[in-house]
């Protein structure tokens, strides 16, 4: 079946249709249902691999490929505009890669209401892929909100004792966080209409808008709150530990591995993309918050006794790295951040899976309950150690590449700077001395790496090599085939990214560079030409330089 012409539509809608179909499979045939769920999501994964094939049906404009652009609600200027570039490509693949794994693994633990679980997971997949590939802001918002409902159900229905509280908290945080974004989108569209006479929600059209700094700040903040809740950035992270602790293993994996990425992705694509000047203004603040997140997440994780909470706080820490890489806005920082998004998806997904394995056997997640498991479950211990290495960024694993790029990226960033000793000149302009503070952040982040290594290794030491005090631990079965099936692809990916990063970066770097080219061009244009009212930028600014060759390594990385 040649689906590549509508490949993105297939990726977005096929899971939703599969979810609908699932509802009609009788409960008496659970095997059919499971086979259908795994089969359809595997099929989708197969389809999504086409995204890697060259540039079939691509439109080279602005580096977006597999473009589908149709009028949807013409009178409001809303379009059905889907496309991927190197930034979203790997995130889509991450989604399609993890969904079948998660579904398959979850069948081991979720016995009741499998039908609802499958339907919710597939619907969630639809919404997440949709949000990654939408270039129309209305469409993006639709998918963004649509994600909430299935995730809410997954946490609330299949979760633990306090699941309802966690689910409602999750829903309300994210729902309330994104209403400001809706307002900001509408405000931009309204200004666009005022300037051009047409409504458009299209990202590429709205890129032409430039705002006075004061307006841009508000708009950026409205977007930033929505994304920061999702990431979650310190101090808006409080829903995450609750949601993770209560969610079922499958929900935790998807939540951590994919859904949080939507926040960072949104920051990059829409927050930084649309508001270069405001993001420049707020860049150091975001970087500080990111560093606080890295250290705070790591330190709190250190103190946790609940395995899942530990992993959840480590997520806060890891996503701090991603945010730091994004705020650096250097080619290395950006591609490191994107790589780190994928890495975090893989290794945290694997960690949650492993925690789930332990929980299934002992029905507790208290770290103190365990000890000396290396003898009882040698394979489990081996896998766990490998995943831990990836999570703390040992060379040879995926985590190393990402963290290294982020740290070098922020070290060399000349956009992270503070101004001091400002003087008002004769003509009223302000002259300031500027100091680059990128190295400071790089140092803080490196410190975070160390703390992360310490607490993860401490846990490994306690759980696997410490004395086994609890007799219940003496006869735990090792990994079963189902669990192996889930873990092997993840392990493979850990080493694939770790050993062959060039393959991945070949697709990420050009996209980052063209993104930065547009970003910097817009930033300079806006800074040079501050006005009282919104105005339109020259369209030539938005055309990135011709992309570097597909294999050619991008400059600027070590």
């Amino acid at each position: 079946m040649n689906t590549s012409r509508h490949l993105l539509s297939v990726l977005v809608w096929f899971p939703a249709l599969a979810a609908l179909a699932t509802l009609f499979i009788p409960r008496q045939a659970p095997k059919v249902m499971r086979a259908w769920a795994v089969g359809s999501s595997l099929f989708l994964f197969g389809q999504s691999l086409q995204l890697l094939i060259g540039s079939t049906h691509s439109v080279q404009a602005r580096g977006f490929r597999f473009v589908e652009d149709h009028a949807w609600i013409p009178s409001l200027g809303i379009r059905y505009h889907l496309a991927v570039d190197g930034i979203s490509l790997w995130l889509v693949l991450l989604t399609t890669f993890l969904t079948p794994l998660t579904l398959y693994v979850s069948f081991g633990t979720i016995r009741n209401k499998q039908k609802e679980f499958i339907a919710a997971m597939l619907l969630l997949q639809s919404a997440m892929i949709g949000a990654f590939v939408s270039l129309d802001l209305f469409l993006f918002y639709v998918f963004w909100e649509l994600m909430l409902v299935p995730m809410f159900l997954i946490i609330g229905v299949f979760g633990g004792r306090n699941a309802v509280y966690a689910a409602v908290k999750f829903f309300l945080y994210t729902f309330a966080g994104s209403v400001g974004m809706l307002l900001a989108i509408l405000y931009m569209v309204s200004r666009y209409k005022g300037l051009t006479g047409n409504y458009s929600f299209d990202y590429l059209d709205l890129l032409r808008l430039a705002f006075p700094l004061s307006t841009e700040k508000w708009l950026f903040l409205a977007f930033a709150v929505a994304f920061a809740v999702k990431v979650p950035m310190f101090p808006l992270h409080t829903w995450l530990p609750d949601a993770h602790t209560e969610a079922p293993t499958g929900g935790s994996i998807i939540l951590a591995a994919v859904m949080l990425k939507l926040g960072t992705y949104g920051f990059l694509r829409f927050g930084f993309g649309l508001f270069p000047f405001a993001s420049h203004w707020i860049g150091p603040t975001v970087a500080i918050l990111a560093c606080v997140g890295i250290l705070y997440g790591a330190l709190v994780a250190w103190r946790q006794h609940d395995f899942k909470k530990l992993v959840a706080y480590s997520s806060v820490s890891h996503l701090g790295f991603v945010m730091l890489g994004l705020t650096a806005r250097t080619p290395a920082g950006l591609s490191g951040a994107i790589l780190q998004m994928v890495n975090h998806g893989i290794s945290t997904g694997a960690l949650f899976l492993l925690v789930g394995v332990l929980y299934d056997r002992r029905h507790t997640r208290d770290v103190g309950e365990f000890g000396g498991l290396a003898k009882v479950m040698p394979w489990y211990a081996a896998v766990f150690v490998v995943v831990t290495m990836s999570s703390i960024g040992l060379p040879g694993t995926n985590g190393f590449i990402g963290e290294f790029l982020v740290i070098t990226g922020s070290f060399t960033s000349d956009l992270l700077r503070v101004s001091y000793r400002c003087m008002v000149q004769g003509d009223g302009s302000r002259q300031c001395e500027v100091a680059s503070i990128g190295p400071l952040f790089a140092m803080l982040a490196s410190f975070g790496v160390v703390v992360g290594a310490v607490y993860m290794l401490e846990v490994v030491q306690k759980v696997f090599f410490g004395p086994n005090r609890n007799p219940k631990n003496a006869h735990l079965p090792d990994l079963n085939p189902r669990e192996w099936t889930g873990l092997v692809p993840l392990l493979a990916m850990i080493f694939a990214v770790g050993l062959f990063p060039t393959y991945f970066r070949a697709r990420i770097d050009p996209a980052c560079e063209s993104f930065l080219a547009v970003y910097n061009a817009r930033r300079t244009a806006i800074a040079q030409n501050q006005r009282e009212e919104p105005w339109l930028l020259d369209e030539a600014l938005l055309t990135p330089p011709p992309p570097a060759g597909p294999q050619g390594p991008a400059g600027g990385h070590p």
Partner: protein, 503 residues
Amino acid sequence: MIQTLAPLAPILLMAFGAVALMLIDAFQDEEGGLAMPAALVHFVAGSTALLLWKRGLPLDSGLLHGYLVIDKTSLFLDAVIGLGGGLASLLAGGYLHEHKLERGEYYPLLGFASCGAMMLVSASDTLMLFVALETMSLGVYAMTGYRRTSARALEAALKYFLLGSFAAALLLAGAALLYTVTGHTDFAGIAQALHPTGEQPPDPFLVDKARISILAMLLILAALAFKVGAVPFHMWVPDTYEGAPTSTTAYMSVVVKTAAFGVFLRLMLTVFGDAGSASSAAGWPALMAWVAVLTMTVGNLAALVQTSVKRMLAYSSIAHAGYLLVGVVLAPRGGGVGAVAVASVLFYLLAYTVSNVGAFGALMLAGRRGAEAVSFDDLAGLGKRHPWAAFALTFFLLSLTGVPPTAGFFGKFYIVRTALDSGLGLLAAIVVVNSAVSAYYYLGVIVKMFMKDPAPGATRAQPMASGTIFFTLVGAALGVLYLGLLPERVLSLALAAAERAAP
């Protein structure tokens, strides 16, 4: 003859249909079974309105004498009323049968009320407005008190009746004062007399007339605010919605609201649509903006603390009236904004109709006679007992919350966009913040259904089986999805309908 009566076709069909229902009821041996014919009458009347639209204007045959205006706005609203009334009668078919209330009078009453509602959205004369309003209201009063052995139902009917009649008297007083100063009862004549164009002989009573017309406007506004359930005239809504049979509540929440907003728009835009009274700084829109903010806030906050689902839905309907009022506030603006604002109200009314009928229908489906779904606790564990009913209720509540891609989301989106486009950022922000608040109580229902088990020994709703309700829900769900995913067609209809209404 046909030509003269053609513009009145939807209304006449509704009236004759109601009479026919009455006759069928009189001559059939056993009671009940009229839901299908009643729904048919509604759907036929509604689609006739759309046919008339297609046939084109002008639609005045000289018979109307300015009492009624058949224009695209009224035809659009006729179609909405036909749809809402039809769906509500189908719901009634399942509900009344289940609760052994199946007596023949219900459907003729429903038909007469819909006939009044259709007249109301066409009314362009205060006399017609009053008679149509009473026709609709009398039918609904009776439908509210229809369960005669229930003290709650009669209490609801008594309250609704007394307050409704009081509001009607206020409206009438306003109309009489307008007649006093203008000598006209038709909207256009009143507007012309209040704000004459061209050279006029000096009028010694100009100041008096202006004062009296302001008094009249306030009286009329109060009465209309009562009918749409706006704060501070909202007190009847929760009591009436809770006490009435659920099928009546469903009907009331969609048809009465649609008709009330329709006449609200027409009256305020024609009679008080001049630059002075409709000035957004000092005229009625400024007043209504405050009312809108209060209405949605009070409605949402009160809904947060309810224990009865029906009562929660009643307060939420007050909140929705607040969102709709935002559109009304913007309607008198010129430069195309007004038309878009009216269109957003029209679209919202349609979206609200399908969502709310669905929500009440799912609530009916969730309970059977003697084990009705009344409180949140009754719904605990419904997801297990009857996943389809729970699923349906979830779906429609999400639409009411405004989660995409549903009709409710798009309706709200459209209103917020209009508000932002006309520079009312604060009002738009209040709407979205309110809808975020509303998510909490709608979620409460979903949480109860899927994530809680009933306490041992507690009452719980036992789902009923009803094909009519099931198919109504499927229809409403399709409508919700259609309006949410492919709103373009309806949107352009609403815009076309709004063009003539807005200044």
